[in-house]
Amino acid sequence: MEDFLHLNDLLTDEEKIIRETLRKFVDEEVTPLMPSAFERGEFPKKLIMRMAELDLFGMTLPAQYGGAEAGYVSYGLACQELERGDSGLRSFVSVQSSLCMFPIFAFGSEEQKQKYLKPMSEGRIIGCFGLTEPDSGSDPSSMRTRAKKAKGGWLLNGSKLWITNAPIADLAIVWAMTEEGIRGFLIEKATEGFFRNPIEGKLSLRASSTGELVMEDCFISDDQLLPGTDKGLSAALSCLTQARYGIAWGAMGAARDCYERALSYLMERTQFGRPLASFQLIQKDLSEMFNEILKAQMLNYRIGRLKEEKKDNYVMASLAKMNGCKEALKIARMARNLLGANGISLDYHIIRHMANLESVFTYEGTDNIHHLTIGRYLTGLSAFT
């Protein structure tokens, strides 16, 4: 896609190189794998070590913890390029980086940081983040998972559902209700009383591994409690704010791929003796797709710079996530329609993006919840608590 608004002029040299490098990685090593990975319902595990070699996990963290010390615009651009390949791949990076490495970095003890962050940046420990429950989604404070103080640690009981990477994770960050409020626990996969079950039958994010976590009298020692998570739900939600920012960029990556594929298809395919792209109704769709991608990119870019200047807030992340996912899903559906019958074939990639974006639209805060978050900010009146 052409750089219509000269966004390049706003990027540093290293941001341009990161984008270009990941574009090549996705074109050459990711996209060719994804249709069959999606069809088989398997995450292409060989990409984990490759992404670790490229330093994609925890890229914004300090070097001493295995990070690349990249800025937030770099992280956003990386998410955008990865999701051009597949939302499942970007989800993997979001979970590993924003939902697992970030809370250990922000709320963990120095021992926990030393133990987990470097191996996680090297892809040797895969993380997952357990907040959502079978009966607790948009209202996480209603969670039923309980952590009861025991001698030398805690006893956890409960279950978590729709957890990205759960079946392949070595380490789970599980949020549980204690007498002092919601706190985060680090549970290693071999812990007694801890079970992981894959979720089958998904028709979206099929190339991403999703599952359930079950804790049955699962004993977690005191040193596996995240000590900084003593502020109720806010610690867990701050992880989501990080992830939502990356999702906003990522969704536009999927949208761009749909737009670019649709544009080239419409330029080449002729009906009634002329290219489909020459018809007015089709140009209307193309111009709308183009417009929404540009608007979302500018919004994401601005919030990225504000994050770098520490002037951002969670409402901005909600706004960008809401906008990015809503518009990306619309663009994918338009592109699906523009390709006619070919639009439903995995060979043309768009149906895969479209199906994936249904999940991306819902996870990490539904569209409705983000509207209400913004509504509460505008009015000072909460419509959901």
């Binding site: 040299d13 290293e14 190189i17 990161i18 270009e20 490098t21 690349a68």
Partner: protein, 256 residues
């Protein structure tokens, strides 16, 4: 061994190139390191890793050529030189060769590596012109470089008649084919560290080259690439389609 790699920052040809009034329309275009030059950078870094070598890249052109220089840093190159001059936005191959030779003499390089051609113009002239001006041995289109000793290399090159194996003494000029290696993707840590390195800026004038006068060739007009014609699609029974397509290949396309 001191290796100089010449890299060109080119228009990303994977994007839709537009021509307006006989000139390239530069609006909205993006720029990348020329693909064959990435092979040259990779080869220099591989030589540095297998033998003791000092590696430097040079790029000639506008201010944003620093992006390609930093990308070379991220891949493992030690130092970079940027020859910047407003007249050098689109210099001809001879001017480029003269500038590279000026830097070569100034800094005493043993080996000059280049891509076999630039991705945007497909000229493939700079390496040969440089070798001629510098009066150095030259191998074009190399597919393998082996170090014999500090003063000698064994170079394999691909020709239509087969492979040629050439021994040449340093200093020398080599242009590389894309089959010589698979350029590595830079890691994020490499990219972030690359921004800390300084790029030496040089003026073409200081090398005795008048960039305003230098070009002997002027591009008069750009014509857009011819659009690919619509293909034909065949439906129906596999055997019938095969017979029909083979018939067309024999009778219409006359390729069988």
């Amino acid at each position: 061994m001191k290796i100089l790699v010449a890299i060109k920052h080119v228009i990303d040809v994977e994007l839709n190139i537009k021509v307006k009034d006989g000139q390239l329309d530069l609006e909205g275009l993006q720029y990348v390191m020329s693909a064959w030059d990435e092979n040259a950078v990779e080869e220099a870094v591989a030589l540095k890793e297998s033998h003791d070598a000092e590696t430097v890249v040079i790029s000639i052109g506008s201010d944003d050529a620093t992006v390609s220089i930093r990308k070379a840093f991220a891949m493992g190159i030690d130092a970079g030189i940027h020859v910047s001059d407003p007249n050098l936005r689109y210099p001809d191959s001879l001017t480029v060769a003269k500038i590279i030779n000026g830097v070569r003499q100034d800094k005493n390089f043993d080996l000059i590596l280049l891509g076999r051609q630039a991705q945007d113009t497909d000229n493939g002239l700079t390496a040969g012109l440089l070798a001629e001006i510098a009066d150095l041995p030259f191998v074009a289109n190399a597919t393998k470089i082996e170090v014999i000793d500090e003063k000698k290399l064994k170079v394999t090159r691909q020709a239509d008649i087969g492979k040629e194996v050439i021994e040449l003494s340093l200093p020398a000029v080599i242009s590389v084919n894309d089959s010589i290696n698979e350029p590595r993707l830079a890691s994020l840590k490499g990219i972030m560290q690359a921004k800390k390195k300084t790029i030496e800026t040089m003026d073409a004038g200081l090398l005795g080259i008048d960039s305003g006068e230098a070009s002997l060739v002027e591009v008069m007009e750009f014509l857009p690439p011819v659009a690919r014609a619509q293909g034909q699609k065949f439906d129906g029974d596999a055997q019938e389609i095969t017979e029909k397509v083979v018939g067309l290949l024999i009778n219409e396309a006359k390729v069988l």
